[in-house]
Every structure is written in C-alpha cells, then in structure tokens.
C-alpha cells in the first residue's frame, strides 16, 4: 500500500459490501478495506491475494520434523549409541513423538513470522493512524480504501456509494 489512499467510511458491513461491489463493477482495482472483524466476502470481492503462510507452515513443519528425526536417528545410532533396555538403537517409533511436536511448533512459528512479514507488521507509525476517524476501524467503523490517484472523483463516489465520510490518507 503505497501512495495516497482514499478512505470511504460506512456505518455497517452491508453498506461496505455494496460499495465494494459497485466500485469493482466500475473497474476500480487495488482496493482494500478496514473492518472490525474478518469479513470473508471481501476476500473475493476485493480480489485479495492469497498469502503464502500455509505453504510456509507446511514446509517449515516438514523440514523441522525431518531435522529432529535425523538428529534423533544420528545421535542414537552413530553419535552416541547406548544400549537402553535392549531396545534397538534406531527406535524410530519412539522418535516420532518429537517429530510431530517439533513439526507443529515449527509450522506455528514459521507461520507467525510469515504472517507478520507478509503484512509488514509491526508498523506502528503507518499514515493510516494519522486521522482520528480511522480509530473506528477497530470498533464499529467500516472503511473502503482506494488508491487516491485513479479513484473516481468525490461526487461520483458520493452518488455511487454514499459514504458517511471520505478521508485522505497520505503515504
């Protein structure tokens, strides 16, 4: 999200969705929204890109699981083999516990990192926070975000979607 953005504020989720549909029909791209909760409808409506979080989690989980398995296997059979209860050195059924747990943990951690990186968080001083009205985004306000540059003009917007307010937010 670079460049100036135009925020259209709405009172309720339905108004936001209607506005999004209308503007999409008009061919406006690169839209975003700010809602107090996750609205699934917006994902398709705004053509939001799918993130890579899940593939990252999968790869991280598998890699960590494999890694910890290899660590266990190597230390038990090559590095420091010890006769423990007459059990085979390569006690792979027993090794699987750590594999699963470490895999899940690695996936969780990698996913969190991927999530924050993808969203470029933390950014504590984004221009979005400058106007006071945007505080409502986390409470009861619904905002539609257009690139200010190629957006339809104010009057058109007023006619099309009737926002409660329009705010410009700098880069």
């Amino acid at each position: 999200m670079s460049g100036t953005r135009l925020l259209l504020a709405f009172d309720g989720p339905d108004a936001l969705l209607a506005a999004a549909r209308a503007l999409r029909a008009e061919g406006v791209t690169d839209m975003d929204a700010h809602t107090p909760w996750h609205m699934e409808e917006l994902d398709d409506l705004l053509a939001l890109p799918r993130s890579n979080v899940r593939p990252v989690m999968l790869v991280a989980g598998l890699a960590a699981g494999l890694g910890i398995y290899l660590l266990q296997w190597w230390t038990s059979t090559q590095g420091y083999p010890i006769n423990s209860g007459g059990r085979p050195l390569n006690s792979w059924p027993a090794f699987m516990f750590a594999v699963f747990e470490t895999g899940v943990l690695a996936a969780a951690f990698a996913g969190l990192v991927a999530f924050l990186v993808t969203c470029r968080l933390p950014t504590l001083n984004h221009p979005f926070f400058v106007p006071a009205a945007t505080e409502a985004a986390s409470d009861h306000g619904f905002f539609l975000s257009l690139p200010a540059q190629d957006a339809p003009d104010r009057l058109t917007l007023e006619r099309m979607v009737a926002p409660v307010r329009m705010i410009e937010v700098g880069p």
Partner: protein, 874 residues
C-alpha cells in the same frame, strides 16, 4: 620385635599418621615411614588385607579386613578360620562402623569428667584386698592367663554371660556335624540363629540339606533354624520337655509331628537340645543322642579355662551387698544393662568402681572411673572361636582415641606398668612355642589362625538346664536380637536399621503373639501392649502365626539407656521380665517401624517351592516374544543366581552390601515413611502351606530393563557386559526408573542421607574414614541401586588386563556373595560355561522372578526345597 622396622610396624606407623589426620591433630611419637621407602605391598589405591579376629559374645570369628591407605574399610571372611569359612555375619560386617563410631568413649573419666591415664593407673595400682573383676565370656588365652595371675593374687573373678551361643551350656559346647546326620530335630536350639557359631553351623546345615538331611524344629518363636527346616511346629517352652519325651518314646501326649518323628528316628539322626529344656528332658535327649549315635561332639566351651572358675553376676551382687567387695573392675561388659539398675545401686555403694569399655554405657555411668578400651580392630589379642580354635587379633589402625587394650588394663590391675599389648600376647605364645616363636608368630598373624589349636573334646555330659518358671500368664521366650545381639551393638546404626528376618522390624523390638491369643485379647499388629512380670514394660505387638500359643516371643538387646544418639531409648528391655508375664492391651500408639508389611505372596509366582532337588521349578518356556533383536554378550555376561533354599535370612549380605557400597542409614522416621536405602533387601514371604521363604532381592540387571528406556537423561543404561549401570552424575531424579521397575530395587536419596541429614552423626568426618574409596557417595536427589559390585568387576578387569588374560568366570566375588555363610549366592561370567553361576542357571530348580514380564533378569533364583508331607523323600 626389635628395633628394625618390620612391615607390620611400618604400617602401624603409617596408620598412626593417617589416624592423626582422622582423629584430629596428634603428633606421631615415632618416626613415620616416608613414601619413598614404601613398605612392601602398600600401593596407593590398592587395598591390603590383614587377618584378625572379631569377638561376638566373647568368641572369635576370623576375618580378613580390607585396608585402604591404613584405614580398615570392609570386613571379609577368613576362609582359613573354622568359625568363618570365608563368610561373615552382620556383626562382623558392622564392626568398621563401631570402630569409627563418633560416640565411642575417647578419654578416661572420673565421675564423668575427663582425666588422664596416669590418674586411672594410679587408682588401679592403689587397689588392695577385695577386688572383684567382672568380665564377659573370656575367649582370649592371654586374658585368661592374666586373670589367673590376678586370681592367684587374691582377686575374685566373675563372668557375665546373658546370652549363650547356640548349643552352649554350662560346661559343654555341643557341636553337631550336620553332614553326617540323616535327620536333625531341634528343640528350641537355634543353631542358625545369631551368634559366634552361626556361620559354621549354617554352612554345615546347608551342605547337609543339599545332601539330603531332613530337619524338624520345635520352637516357641520364629527363628532362622525353624525357617530353614523342612517342618516346624510352634511349641511353648513348657511343652518342649513333652516333645523330648515323645521323641524318646516315653509319651504319646505330644504334637503329631513329634510322634511321627519319633517313629522315624534312625541311627545317625540327631536331637538338638535348647536352653528351655528341663533337667529331665536334657537327660532324655542326651541318652537318645547316644543311642542314635548322633554326630554330635561335646567340646570344651570357649570360655572355659583350666584353673579358673568364675562366679556369676548373682554371686557378685550378693558379695557386694555383704560388703565383701572393696573395688569392682568391670571389663568389656555392661552389667547394669544386663542385670538391671539394682546393680548400678550396688556399684555406687562400693568405695570405688571401674569400668573399661569402648562406649560410655550404663555401667560406665554408674562407675567411679571409666577407661576407654581399644576396639578389636585396634587391638592385639588372641581369641578362641566357638569350637576352640584360637585366632589372632592384630590392629588394622593405630588407636583412634586415648584407649588401651584390655591386656594393658589387666597389667595395671596387677600393679604393673601397662606395658605393650603386643608383648603381653606374644608372651603367652612364646611360652608355648619356645624357639619356633618368630616363624610361627608370623604365620599365625598371616593366617589369622594359630595352628595346632582346635576343638577340645570332653567326655559327653548332660547339659545343665535352668529350671523354667511356673505360674500363670504367658511364658516368655527371649532370644538374642539378630540385629543388636545382646545390646552391645545398639549404638551401631547399620545394625539398628537391619531388619529382623521375620517381622522386618527395624529400630526397635516387639512382642510376638500367636493369633489365637491376639484374637482373645483384641490385639492387632501395631497395638501397644503391656507386659507385667518382675518389671513392667510396654511395646508394640506383632501377631505372628509362627508364634506359639501361650507364649510371647521377645528379642533382647533393646531398651538401652546409654547407647549414644543411635541406640538410646530404642525398643524396650526384656531382661528384667522374668519367666512369666501378663499381657494386656494399652491405649495410644506404639512405634512399629518395618521395612516390609505384606508377607503374603498373593498367589503370585514369586517364591517357588519344589518337593525335591530335581523337580523342575519353572517350565522350559522360551522367553516371552519380543519385537526387538537381542543384544549379544559374547565375551563377558555377568549373572547371579540366588538359592532361596540355601538362604537362611541372616542379613549378612545386606550389611556387607551396605559396607562395601557406602550405603547411608536413613533413620527410624524415614523407614516409617517407607524409605530405606538397602540396595540388597531380603524379602520374606509366608507360604500358603506354612513356612517362610527368604528371598534376597538385589538389582535384577535385566537384559530388557524397564528402567532404562524411561530415563530421560541416560542415567540408567546398559553396559556391554550386561550390567544395568546407574550414572549418578547424570541422574536428575525424575524417578521414572523406579516407577517402572517391577521389582522396586532402586533406592532414592530423598534427603541428604549420606550427609547425615536424618540420622545424627552419620555425616561426621570420622565416619568418612570407613567409606570404600572405590565407590562414590551419592548426593541428595540421585537414584542408586545394586551394581553387581561394579568396582570389584572393574579391578578384576584391570588386574586381568595387566596379566594379559581374560577375567575368570568365578574370579569376581560380590560383597553379598562373599558374606553369605551358606554360599547361597553365585555370581560370575555366564559366557564361561564352567563357571559356577552358569551351572546354577542350568539347575532344575532355576526360575526368574516375574519372568513373564519379559525383563530377562540376569539375577535369578533357585526354588526352595520343601519336601512333601510324606516322610523320607530325599
């Protein structure tokens, strides 16, 4: 001994240096031998062994003492001594703890205040007429010689012997040869019970049983002899004469077993009389034995000396009351405890009295003067064994405190300078040997036995009996305690924590009652009961099916009032009760501390019995199936077989293990919380068909050990020779290993036991001296267990490697195996087909404990042989 420094002398000097460190700076009075001129045989880290004798009730058992850098750390048996035969008993094993006991008497005292020896010497020299000397049973020829001199000089000698060894009577020591006996019937004799003859008699008994000897015991309270017999009947003391009469064919009014036995008697059988028989019964038994040509020798008792006839303590008390005694010298016995506080009053009424002993006991408190005596491990002496063989006693360490030898005391009483104990003892033998003295003396010290001495047979005589008391109430049966004997070991923490074989009680004694009596009086195990006799005492009751009705079973040696912080106030004193008591339940609670409280095997296959030695104990099943491939142990595979038929339950192995492996004592409070540290324990189970089996349980060293894969830090691992190894430094104390061990052989340091956190003084520096330097001392929070004496395996391996050979199959002997009087434990390399242990594993009676769990234990058992009811099945 001349001015040259002999090896013995050098070691003594070196020990003086070491002892100075241990006892706190005392400069050596003689030149110390520097390491540069190392005495032959003294290699740092390598122990040296010395033969000596240790007294029990006055009679000696030969031992070999392992000495590390001049400190004795472990007692072993002396194979060359007939009362040891290479094994030990609990009292011998505990001797090192007595030696280094922080509560020993250290300085002479007058009226309780420390003085020097010169003052005491002067007091002794000033004695004139009316001197009475009271000792325990005297087994030392030298001491007897000195006594004779004193008696000739006008002193009177009295002997206090509250506990006689088994089969010992006034004037005769009966000495059975079990291996030549077809059948043995014991009438309360208890040859296998605690005493100086236990080891030799148990060995003979077991070998005889293995060759087919049958046994039957009649006794009032459970004893080891009864447990080791084929059949046993509980009979109160007043009924024993009837049993004797029945055996002699003189009556039909006797228990069934007695009548059946009487019918089955054959030449070569033997009847052993106990101390409870009447004069008539003794005579009957003597005639019966003569008729049967019983292999029973009549020996001179070890305390009997030509030309010396001691008075009894009663005689002494009467003499003191009459005022005939002007000075009493008590040496090495504790008459105030043994004979009651009236004796103390009599002593205090004398003009002067002396006590010589190793501890400030009850008698020391009543005496004017007290002088500390050497512990036998610090002393020169000679000592008869129970069969008469004389053994030598040499010091393992220079005296730790300002004590003196009893021989020196005798010289002082005679008005001579104290002299040198070595010279006094040598003088006895110089007389006998003349020119040969030097070689014979050296050999005697080396062997521990003086050759040419041995049993002295006397003409067969009927043992003199003490008439039983008649009256109402319960009859009283008193036996020496298997833990503290006659009370002289009450200050020994190892022995106080050594469980009584049948009740598994520690730190105290109890009143054994038969179930019928208990039901009638409403008494349950653990209830406090009051016994009213000549004195009144209170103690916890234990209901035992092995106890005869109409009789209470008691152990002596408890109720000490001055036995240091360990023994004072433990248990109750029974010596003053008399022959008959009343019994009633009192209120409140009594401390009954036991290491085992459940004795029923619950139908589980734990202790197997077989009717004959050839019967298969366990079916020839293959090991339970496993998903895992086996680890191979081609060269060395340590294993152990314990013969529950040979085990008599004497606990020598338990204390030997404690001594060898620096196992701490935890104290009565901790044992009451079901914690104790014995790596090797002896479990007792009552069989459904009657009788007891003792099962020593060390670590099983399972090939598929359940304790190993559950340890999160690899503190419990398996070595390449089959040992389950506990790595103390790695253990973080999760205790999963013990949770998963089905045998529960592991022991956890809940507190800093080794540091003496729960028992006074156990962490003291003095006691650090007796620790085996080859075994680490474990810290708080660490798990420990039997290691198959891995330190001994290790030193055998080093020795073998130095010689360029393999370790012999029987070369390594574990502490428990060595201590066992009946050689019930076999240990060795299973990869060696000729090793004793490998052959034991092939025995028909062989079985694994809880084998169905698939643990593949390396420690296995041989089943107990209990012949069926029918007679004469060998």
């Amino acid at each position: 001994m001349t001015g040259e420094v002999t090896r013995r002398g050098a070691l003594r000097l070196f020990s003086a240096g070491a002892a100075a460190l241990v006892a706190g700076c005392r400069p050596s009075r003689e030149a110390i031998v520097p390491y540069r001129d190392m005495p032959e045989g003294l290699v740092p880290g390598q122990p040296v062994f010395f033969a000596t004798s240790l007294p029990l009730g006055g009679a000696g058992r030969g031992v070999l003492v392992e000495s590390h850098e001049g400190r004795p750390t472990k007692i072993h048996g002396n194979p060359g001594h007939p009362a040891s035969l290479g094994a030990t008993d609990v009292f011998a094993e505990g001797a090192v703890l007595d030696l280094f006991d922080p509560n020993r008497s250290t300085v002479p005292r007058r009226d309780g205040l420390p003085v020097g020896w010169p003052a005491l010497e002067a007091a002794l020299a000033g004695l004139e007429e009316g001197v009475a000397i009271l000792t325990g049973p005297v087994g030392s020829p030298t001491l007897a010689r000195q006594l004779r001199a004193l008696v000739d000089g006008g002193a009177q000698w009295f002997m206090s012997q509250p506990q006689r060894p088994a089969l010992a009577f006034d004037g005769v020591q009966l000495w059975p040869d079990f291996t030549r006996a077809g059948r043995v019937i014991s009438l309360g004799a208890d040859p296998l019970g605690p005493g100086p003859g236990q080891i030799a008699l148990a060995r003979g008994w077991t070998e005889a049983r293995q060759a087919g000897m049958r046994s039957l015991t009649f006794e009032p309270q459970p004893t080891l002899t009864g447990a080791a017999s084929d059949r046993r009947a509980a009979v109160k003391p007043s009924d024993l004469p009837r049993v004797a009469a029945a055996l002699a064919g003189q009556t039909q009014d006797a228990p069934q077993e007695a009548l059946a036995a009487a019918r089955a008697l054959q030449p070569g059988d033997m009847v052993l009389p106990g101390p409870d028989l009447t004069a008539e019964a003794q005579a009957l038994v003597a005639r019966l034995n003569a008729r049967l040509n019983a292999p029973l020798r009549h020996l001179r008792p070890f305390w009997d000396w030509d030309g010396l006839t001691p008075g009894t303590p009663d005689d002494l008390a009467a003499a003191m009351e009459r005022g005939d005694i002007s000075a009493l010298v008590v040496i090495g016995c504790n008459p105030v405890y043994e004979h009651g506080t009236e004796f103390a009053d009599l002593m205090r009424a004398l003009p002067v009295s002396f006590h010589f002993g190793t501890a400030l006991d009850e008698t020391a408190e009543a005496a004017t003067w007290h002088g500390p005596l050497h512990h036998p491990l610090e002393d020169w002496s000679d000592l008869r064994g129970i069969d008469g063989t004389v053994g030598t006693q040499q010091p393992l360490i220079a005296p730790l405190h300002q004590s003196r030898s009893a021989h020196q005391v005798m010289e002082m009483i005679a008005g001579n300078p104290p002299g040198n104990a070595l010279e006094v003892v040598q003088a006895t033998w110089r007389e006998a040997w003349g020119e040969d003295f030097d070689t014979r003396w050296r050999r005697a010290l080396h062997d521990g036995v003086i050759d040419g001495t041995g049993p002295e047979e006397i003409a067969p005589q009927v043992p003199i009996a003490t008439p039983p008391q008649s009256g109402d109430g319960f009859e009283v049966s008193i036996l020496p305690s298997p833990s503290v004997y006659d009370g002289s070991f009450a200050g020994n923490a190892w022995l106080q924590e050594c469980p009584q074989p049948f009740t598994k009680q520690v730190w105290g004694n109890a009143v054994l009652i038969a179930p019928a009596d208990a039901a009638r009086l409403g008494v349950e195990t653990g209830d406090p009961v009051e016994l009213g006799g000549d004195e009144t005492i209170t103690g916890p009751a234990i209901v035992s099916a092995l106890q005869a009705e109409g009789c209470v079973g008691l152990h002596a040696g408890y109720g000490r009032q001055a036995a240091g912080p360990i023994g004072t106030g433990v248990g109750f004193r029974v010596a003053g009760l008399g022959g008959r008591v009343t019994l009633r339940k009192t209120g409140g609670s009594a401390a009954l501390t036991r290491t085992q409280t459940h004795f029923d095997p619950k139908g589980r296959d734990i202790v197997k019995t077989v009717p004959t030695r050839q019967t298969q104990a366990a079916p020839d099943e293959p090991d339970p199936p496993t998903l895992y491939p086996d680890f191979a142990y081609p060269d060395t595979a340590w294993g152990m077989v314990i013969d529950t038929d040979a085990c008599i339950g004497c606990n020598a192995c338990v204390i030997a293990c404690q001594s060898e492996n620096n196992i701490p004592v935890v104290g009565a409070e901790e044992v009451a919380k079901d914690r104790n540290m014995h790596w090797l324990r002896v479990d007792t189970y009552e069989l459904p068909q009657g009788g007891n089996v003792f099962q020593p349980v060390p670590c099983m060293h399972c090939e598929k050990a359940p304790c190993e894969p559950v340890c999160p830090v690899e503190a419990s691992v398996h070595d390449s020779e089959g040992l389950n190894v506990q790595v103390y430094n790695r253990c973080i104390g999760t205790r999963f290993c013990q949770a998963n061990c089905p045998y529960k052989v592991r022991r956890f340091n809940f507190f800093d036991y080794a540091g003496g956190e729960t028992v006074p003084d156990q962490g003291s520096d003095l006691l650090a001296a007796l620790r085996n330097p080859d075994v680490s001392v474990r810290a708080r929070g660490v798990m420990e267990k039997c290691t198959y004496c891995v330190q001994r395996i290790s030193s055998a391996r080093i020795a073998a490697r130095k010689d360029g050979r393999g370790i012999g199959g029987d070369e390594v002997v574990t502490a428990c195996q060595a201590a066992c009087p009946t050689q019930a434990i076999s240990f060795g390399n299973l990869a060696d087909r000729a090793a004793a242990v490998t052959q034991a594993k092939a025995d028909a009676r062989h079985y694994a404990l809880l084998g169905h769990l698939g643990t593949r234990p390396r420690t296995t058992y041989l089943a107990r042989v209990l012949p069926e009811n029918g007679e004469d099945k060998a």
